[in-house]
Symmetry: C3
Amino acid sequence: MTTYVLVHGAWHTGTEFEPVAEAIRAEGHIVHCPTIAGNRPGESKDVGLNAAIASIVDYLSENDLSDVVLLGHSYGGMVITGVADRAADRIRRLVYWNAFVPNDGEALNDMVPPHYVALFDGVSAASADNTVMLPFPIWREAFINDADLALAERAFGVLNPHPYATFTDKIALSKNPAEMALPKSYLLCTEDCALPQSLGWHPRLSEKLGLFRLVAIPGSHELCFTDPKALAAGILKAGRD
Amino acid sequence: MTTYVLVHGAWHTGTEFEPVAEAIRAEGHIVHCPTIAGNRPGESKDVGLNAAIASIVDYLSENDLSDVVLLGHSYGGMVITGVADRAADRIRRLVYWNAFVPNDGEALNDMVPPHYVALFDGVSAASADNTVMLPFPIWREAFINDADLALAERAFGVLNPHPYATFTDKIALSKNPAEMALPKSYLLCTEDCALPQSLGWHPRLSEKLGLFRLVAIPGSHELCFTDPKALAAGILKAGRD
Amino acid sequence: MTTYVLVHGAWHTGTEFEPVAEAIRAEGHIVHCPTIAGNRPGESKDVGLNAAIASIVDYLSENDLSDVVLLGHSYGGMVITGVADRAADRIRRLVYWNAFVPNDGEALNDMVPPHYVALFDGVSAASADNTVMLPFPIWREAFINDADLALAERAFGVLNPHPYATFTDKIALSKNPAEMALPKSYLLCTEDCALPQSLGWHPRLSEKLGLFRLVAIPGSHELCFTDPKALAAGILKAGRD
C-alpha cells in the first residue's frame, strides 16, 4: 500500500483527479488530490509560485503524510519540484506527468515557446486579476485532442482562471532536480501537443531529472478526463518502487 | 453525419482508400475517394501540381460538396493545401495523414531528403513520360514495413507511375497553412519511415500547420493496405469537430 | 520456416533469450541463442571485440547455419555487424533490436554519452579483471523501467560482469552497414531509455543502416524479461522477408 499525492496542473483543481484516484484506490492504495493555492474555489487569485508550493508542503504536513509518491501534472511539476526541495523527507518518489521540470531560477514561462508567453501576457493583462485562461480552440486541439467535442467542452467548463504569477515567478531551489537523491519517474502521454513536440516534454524536460524512469502511454495532455483508468495504470507503473 | 473526402498519395488512386471508406461509412458518414488527375487509369501523365489541385477542386464543385472533412495522404497534402486555398468555403476541417505541408512557393521535393530527389530525378529521366516509380525494396522496407511480403507485393502491384512534375512544381498559395482559418489535424502513423524519421513528418511538417490536433496511431505509411479499419478509426478521431 | 540466431547484449547470456525463442519456435521456426565469448559462465573475461565477433562467426560455422535472420540486442549490434562483414553468405537479414550500429573504426563507447563512458571507466578500473557492471538504480530505472521491482531484481541477479574491452575496441569492417547488401531491420522498443532518448537508438543509430525496416513496439530495453512474447512478435515482424 502506497500513499499517492496527485498535484494538478494550471486551470485545474484536485477534483479533476478524483476518477484517476478512484482507480488507484481500487488497487489498494491511498490517494490524495489536494488543490493548490490559487486554484481553490472562491479563494484569492493573488498567489505566486512560492505560495503555491507552500500550500502543498502544508498539505503534506497537516495530513502528516510520509513515504509519499508525489505526482505533478504540467504546471504541477513546478510545484512538486519545490515541495521536494522543502520536504524531501516526506517523499518516496517524484512522478512528473507531462510536467515542467525547473532548475533553480527558472520560471514556467522560461520553458514554453514564445507564442505562448505572448498569449499569456495578453490574456493576463486583459484580466482584472492577473489571471490567464486558455482559448477554447487551443484547449480542444492541443490539450485534449483525444476527446470528442462534448467532453472537450464539458472539461473546459470546469477549468478555473489561473494566477499568472505562478508562471512568471522564478523558482528558488537549494538543488536542481538532477541532484536530488529521490527516485524520479517521467510519465509521458505520447500524443500531448500542449507544448509543440519540437520543444516538448520529453526528452527536453524529462532529462533535466538526471536518472529517471520513463513510462509512456498513448493519450493527450488531459488524459485525466479522456481515460482516467489508463492514466491510473500509468501512474502505478511510474510510481512503484 | 459528416462528409469525408479522402485524397490519396503519389502512385495511388482513390480505389486504395475504399476499404478505409467502407469502415467510415459504417459509422454513418459519407465518404468520397476521388482520384487525382495524373493518377487516373488510362489518362495522360502530363499533369503538373496545378492541374492536380484543380482536379480535386473540380470534384468538390461537380459533386456540390460542402462542409467537407478533406484528408490528404503524403503527396495528397500538397493537393489538399492547394484545394483549401481555392475552395475554403467547402471545407470543415483539413486532415493531413503523414502528409506534406507546403508553404507558398514550396515543392514536394523541397521537403524530401536529397537522396530521394536524386533517385526521383534518375527514375523520371529514364522514363518515357517524366514519371517516377518506387523501387520495390524501398516500398517494402520503408513504406509498407508493417505488411507481410505477400501484401507488400500485392499492394505494389496496384501502384501507378506518378507524374514527376507534381513533385517539382512549386505550389502557389495566397496564404500559408498556419494562417488558414480552417481547423486542421495531423494524423500520424508512428512507424512511418517513408521519410527518414530524423527528417520526418512530425513535428517537422505538422508544425507548419500552426494550431493543429495530433492523432497518433501505430502503423506504416501504407496503413490503408495493412489495417484499413485502424486507419478509419484514426481518421474519425482526426476528423471530428 | 526460418532460422533465427539471437545475439544478446552486454551482461547477458543466450539463456535470457530462451523465453523469446520458445515463442518464436511456437510459430514453426528454428531459433539459436548462443552466448558471446566473454559472457560465457566460467570462461575468461579477457575478451575483446574481435574475439566476441569471432565467437559468433564460429557458432554459425560449427552449426552449419545459413539463410539466418541474425538479431543483435544492444551491444549485440556491434557483434552482428562484425559477423555480417565476415560471414554475409550465411545471413538472410540483419535485425537490430535497440542495438548499436557501428561504422568502420567505431567503438561502442563512441556512441554512448560521456557520463556513461565515465561510469564505465570508473567501474572497470575498480574491477579485478577490466569488467563493467551496471549499478542497480540505473538498471532498474533506465534499462528495465517496465518491470516491477521483483522482476527487476531477479533479472539483475542473472547478469554477468561484462568485458570492458568490447566497449572500447574499435570495430574493423570492410564496409559500413549502409553499404552492406543485406536486408536490415531495426526493432525499436519505444520506452527504452538505456540511452538518453535525446541521444538515442532511433533514428540516430538506426539511420546508419541506410535502407531499413522499422518495427516499433512498446517496452523497455529489457523486453526479453518483461514481455518475451511481445518481443517475439516484434522479432517476427522485423525478421520476415
